[in-house]
Amino acid sequence: MAGNFQGKGDYFMCGIAGIIHKNAGKDVNIGEQMTAMLQALKHRGPDSTGYAMYGEDNGNHVVRFKVAEAADLEGSFEIHAAIENRIAAVNSRMEDLGAKIVKKESATEYSHRYEIQFSGDMKKLADFVEDIEGVEILSIGNSLELIKDLGDAAVVSEQYGLNDFSGTHGIGHTRMATESDVDIRSAHPYWAYPFSDVSVVHNGQLTNYWTNRRALELKGHRFSSNCDSELIAVYIADRINQGQDLESAMKDSVEYLDGVFTYLVATRDQLGMAKDVMAAKPMVVYEGDDMIALASEEVAIRTLFDHHIETFDPYHGEVKVWQN
């Protein structure tokens, strides 16, 4: 949800959307499609927007990380020097562990994208880099690009050049901040650390957040925020780590998670949806022969079509997974 575990509600807010093309290769402009859907959901949450999109795998690992919050830039003049130092530290630590940085890009001063070649322990690399003060890894993957920032979809898409992103599938989130700050840390999607290419977006509220968080932390999992939605990402990661497939992990999650929720999970080649047993959060699904689109509201899906489409609401406790 938008806020953390402490909050009462957000019962009607935050929007989530997802799309997967089944037979279209990787040449579909899903960036434009996701932006259209998320912009149509702006009224559910204008504070921040996030994308997890899956494109071409060129053999390198894509690391998305931030070295500051957007608001930090307004805090003091020293932040710019601090950012430079943090980036230098990231470069140094990656090289120390044997990662070869082959490409560097940055959409903003605080948000960076590296392509690296690395065959070592990804968790160790992530932990080592995140040990630098102010640095947070947003995602690591071969085909996953996880982008999130403040503002609506049009703003974020423009800022990060997402309107010509080609790929097969993606999920996204528009956030209405309630109990936690308006910042990138609390924005969705969440990466299922430390697993490549797994991401989660969520609309709802989890009421057994702390109990389950403590249990997962004891197993060695890390949480980067106090947002209850991150629990889903970590839980799914834990289950995958135990050898479960995505669909069975999601089915277990419906029992494991207490509260009201609808969430989406994406992996390298799958898109999944789960709904709580009370069916208290909205989700509308269009299931075509070549494409599946899901969103909190049909008005988002209709941005992709200029004609009538058949849609439906998933039922309570329902889990569905689609393959591209």
Binding site: M278, A279, E297, R302, D313, Y315
Partner: protein, 280 residues
């Protein structure tokens, strides 16, 4: 009408007599002419038609255009390209033939009292909320809280609907051609719900009154919901009601199961004492 007692409680809109049967009573003074009609209720001619292309319109613009056409006496309106927008077709308080050529979003056709609406697509959450009279017929599926707090009229979905269908239903009839989700009929107070397919868990949970008919399987019953006895009257009613919308129970109305409230609330048919109301 029951004899009114002109005292403080009546001035406050309260009354102390016991209700007879299950009919809600309204009290008004004949001198208060504004209470005898609805504001923004129009005298329309259903032989006069018009259409609206809503492709580039906001929900507010669509609703205003519908009202403007009704104000001109047009009684048959078609809205093209509603594009699943929210809150469209609401607050219509007179007879009107209204057709949407495609799907609607949330809260479609809420707070209506009289129109006959046909939606040639799907509807999102809370279609027909607080509907008082008229008919709404949806060709496709519907989202959750379908017909929430409906008080009258017929709300018909030819497809399947989401969770909490008819939550807080206070009257009228809800008909679902397919399945309905969890907690349908939650806190139902009056009226009838006809589900031709399966019903999700906790059907009729905490219902006070009203009747639910199910043609398919029921996942489980909620608290206070119990099977009732189908009578000849039920069968006649279902046959005629479904026939009005060219719908049929898959296994025949005779095979449908009836569910009612298993508990009568204390003092349910009685008004509370004035003294208690005044304290509150």
């Amino acid at each position: 009408m029951a004899k009114l007692k002109q005292d403080k409680s009546h001035e406050m809109g309260l009354h102390e007599e016991q209700l007879k049967g299950r009919t809600q009573q309204r009290f008004f003074s004949i001198d208060e002419s504004e209470n005898l009609t609805y504001f923004h209720s129009f005298d329309v001619d259903t032989s006069k038609s018009a259409s609206i292309d809503a492709l580039e319109m906001t929900p507010r613009e669509i609703n205003r255009e519908i009202r403007a056409l009704m104000e001109k006496g047009i009684g048959d309106i078609t809205v093209d390209n509603p594009m699943s927008r929210h809150g469209v077709g609401v607050g219509i308080l007179n007879r009107l033939n209204l057709t949407f050529s495609d799907s609607l979003g949330y809260f479609g056709c809420g707070l209506i009292d009289g129109p006959n609406v046909h939606i040639k697509g799907r509807v999102g959450w809370s279609c027909g909320e607080n509907m008082m009279a008229g008919t709404v017929v949806i060709d496709g599926n519907a989202g959750s809280t379908f017909g929430a707090a409906i008080r009258g009229g017929d709300l018909v979905c030819k497809g399947s609907v989401g969770a909490r269908t008819g939550i807080d239903q206070k009257g009228g009839t809800i008909i679902v051609g397919g399945k309905t989700g969890a907690f349908s009929g939650f806190m139902m107070q009056r009226g009838r719900m006809i589900i031709l397919g399966d019903a999700g868990m906790n059907l009729g949970d905490s219902m006070y009154d009203g009747t639910i008919y199910v043609g398919g399987e029921v996942e489980d019953l909620g608290v206070d919901c119990v099977p009732g006895e189908m009578t000849e009257l039920d069968i006649r009613y279902l046959t005629e009601k479904l026939g009005n919308y060219d719908m049929k129970a898959p296994n025949g109305v005779e095979k449908m199961q009836k569910y009612v409230s298993g508990k009568t609330l204390w003092n349910y048919d009685n008004l509370e004492p004035n003294e208690k109301k005044l304290i509150l």
